[in-house]
């Protein structure tokens, strides 16, 4: 059956986080672009080994938090100052009452930031994505246990089935397998 499916890429398994990291450095230096490593836990230093910069997730969170703050200011000030001012304890109904609005401003800033964090995490990672070609590789289920994998995609310009396979084997990859879509 598999020969009728498109080739997704070549996968290799490595014995440890350390071996995977040095393999990633080699692949990075070889100039590959469409490739990834898969690990059961985040390996510290792997971003550098893969040539990835710092995540820019903080930007949407800043936007989310600011939106939350503005929402709270609007939610508190518009009804309290214009729609239905309620005078309680003789307290003022203008800007002098703002300190009493701080707790809700704070809470909504946090709430919107948290939603922005999780939503942008999912969007930036392209999740949920229940089907992915790597799941067709049987060994790959070890990735959530103790398996360390490196997958080079066929769409990479430098991908060549024979040469890439040789490269992966040379840098210590075991069970080098062709993964189909």
């Amino acid at each position: 059956m598999t020969e009728y499916h498109k080739v997704y890429g070549l996968g290799a398994q490595f014995a440890s986080a350390a071996e995977l990291m040095s393999a990633a450095e080699t692949i990075r230096d070889a100039g590959f672009k469409s490739w990834d490593v898969h690990t059961p836990f985040p390996v510290h230093g792997m971003d550098k080994a893969m040539g990835l910069g710092k995540s820019w997730l903080s930007l949407p969170v800043l936007i989310g938090g600011t939106t939350g703050l503005i929402t709270a200011v609007a939610l508190e000030c518009i009804p309290s100052f214009s729609i239905y001012p309620v005078i309680v304890h003789g307290k003022p109904i203008d800007w002098r009452t703002l300190p009493a609005f701080f707790p809700i401003m704070f809470e909504l800033t946090i709430l919107f930031s948290a939603f922005a964090t999780v939503t942008s995490l999912l969007i930036m990672n392209g999740l949920p994505r229940w089907y992915h070609p790597v799941f067709n590789w049987e060994r790959f289920s070890q990735v959530t246990d103790d398996g360390f994998f490196l997958v080079i995609e066929a769409r990479d310009a430098k991908f060549n089935e024979t040469k890439t396979r040789a490269l992966l084997e040379e840098i210590g990859g075991k069970h080098v397998t062709l993964i189909h879509d």
Binding site: L57, S58, P79, S120, L121, N125, H132
Partner: protein, 496 residues
């Protein structure tokens, strides 16, 4: 292997005296697969007999609580013992008690994360689950004590049936925002942490239904480093925003009291005092749940939740308990120093009971013993490492923290400014069983959590194993040679 367990650099470590080496966080040098196997197995296979027995008991208790809630809703708040002047009593006591318990989970998952306390990894999942269930129990009380629950929507920031908006300057409305934000953010944080572990359960699942369900909630997680990169930052951000959040929640809860003018409530010390008390009571509850889970039913967790973990938590209980003790003393001092007759009456007569005029002094002294005296035994190392002693102290703290809220609320209300308006308070059976019922709800939810979700954050525990260090792994002796610069400068390793 021993030099692997203690870095920074193996040459240095070999000369480090044995007693200065760091104790490994995962005992007995368990490897990655061992962690996966022993944590996942708890959720796999048929439920053990003890689980059914416990679940049956807790769900019966939960049903009694739900019945009492239904009875109270259909008959009105008159079924409770609250009446003028004690218009708040067990309901708000229970609310503050439960919401306080939740704080330990967020402290472990967020504040200890920011402080790089790596030992938190094996307990944070269970503690966060406890947070969620405690907040669920807490949220019941303000919901039903409004009396006519169908008007509970008046709490929402929308104009009510008469077109009147809620008063945004009221601490009670701040509380609605604080508690609902706290619950939502805790759920998001907890679920974000769960996704990689749900992937593990998905990959191990044998039955179709389990594969399908875990698969859906795992969102197709495949451990990609391009994902981990964003994931780690997201986790850091969630920890960063949860830290001020958790401090704000109990501060806002304390404003419910502090912003009033009642002696015993009108105190500026309340926010820090409440937060310390919340963490204190929460850690006691974490240990109350984890100790039996680890020692009685899941002995395989012993290498993950070690005696050192218990020791560290006992130290936090000692610290926060002493802060609470300081706050009690400071309240008394401020009452004395203020020279205000009503303040002095509340603290020295109604609570401290210098002249036998206090009605609830037994509750005050019981609170003092449980919260201030009993944790002092944790100054001794043998006590922190003796699990029976720790468990007994935690039970005292659980009781004491409930009494703290009872003392604050009821003694202040029952004997306030004018002796002619004083009134005794006694709980009705409905109140008592509603409170008991929330324990049933809490424990039932926790048992379901233990049964269906990994109670130890596997992917996080794996990070603290020596195998996870990409520079120091035994099989990678030659690896260090590849990047000598990182081996010396990597901050992750330095903090190990």
């Amino acid at each position: 292997m021993s030099q692997v367990l203690d870095d920074p650099a193996s040459e240095v470590t070999l000369e480090t005296p044995v007693d200065l080496r760091r104790i490994p966080l995962v005992a007995n040098k368990r490897d990655l697969h061992w962690i996966t196997e022993h944590v996942s197995r708890i959720c796999e296979g048929p439920a053990p007999f003890w689980w059914w027995v416990c679940f049956l008991i807790t769900s019966i208790v939960a049903c009694i609580g739900l019945f009492c809630i239904g009875y109270q809703i259909s008959n009105g708040v008159g079924t409770w013992g609250e009446n003028h002047p004690a218009g708040w009593a067990w309901d708000i006591t229970n609310f503050v008690f439960w919401i306080g318990i939740g704080h330990a989970g967020t402290l472990i998952s967020a504040i200890l994360f920011l402080c790089r306390q790596k030992w938190r990894t094996s307990i944070n999942r269970a503690a966060e689950a406890m947070t969620l269930f405690a907040v669920v129990c807490a949220a019941i009380f303000p919901g039903i004590h409004v009396g006519r629950v169908w008007y509970a929507w008046f709490l929402a920031p929308v104009p009510n049936a008469n077109g009147i908006w809620p008063n945004f300057r009221s601490p009670l409305l701040w509380d609605v925002f604080a508690v609902s934000t706290y619950f939502t953010v805790s759920v998001l944080f907890w679920y974000t942490g769960l996704v990689p572990d749900l992937g593990t359960l998905r990959d191990r699942a044998k039955s179709r239904a389990a594969k399908y369900l875990y698969g859906i909630f795992a969102l197709g997680w495949r451990g990609s480093n391009r994902h981990w990169r964003h994931y780690e930052l997201a986790y850091l951000i969630l920890a960063g925003i949860s830290t001020p959040l958790v401090l704000s929640v109990h501060s806002v809860v304390s404003f419910d009291f502090a912003a009033s003018i009642l002696p015993g409530w009108h105190t500026t010390i309340f926010p820090p005092y409440f937060v310390a008390g919340a963490i204190f009571g929460g850690f006691a509850m974490v240990l109350t749940i984890l100790l039996p889970a680890r020692y009685l039913v899941y002995p395989q967790l012993r290498d993950l939740v070690t005696v050192d973990h218990v020791d560290k938590m006992a130290k936090i209980i000692l610290l926060t308990g002493s802060i609470v003790g300081y706050a009690y003393m400071m309240e008394l001092f401020v009452a004395y120093y203020s020279g205000n007759k009503f303040e002095c009456f509340t603290f020295f007569h109604a609570r401290f009971n210098t002249d036998h005029s206090g009605w609830y002094q037994w509750a005050y002294w019981w609170m003092m013993f449980c919260n201030v005296v009993s944790p002092q035994i944790f100054w001794f190392k043998w006590a922190r490492r003796n699990l029976i002693v720790v468990f007994i102290v935690c039970m005292f703290v659980n009781v004491g923290m409930w009494f703290e809220r009872f003392v604050i609320i009821v003694t202040s209300l029952a004997q306030d400014f004018l002796p002619s308006s004083w009134g005794h308070y006694f709980p009705s059976w409905v109140e008592v069983w509603t409170f008991v019922g929330t324990f049933g709800i809490f424990l039932s939810l926790f048992l379901l959590f233990m049964r269906f979700l990994p109670m130890v954050a596997m992917s996080e525990v794996k990070i603290v194993t020596p195998e996870a260090d990409p520079h120091a792994h035994g099989s990678g002796v030659g690896i260090d040679a590849h990047h000598p610069v990182e081996a010396a400068s990597d901050s992750y390793k330095q903090s190990h």
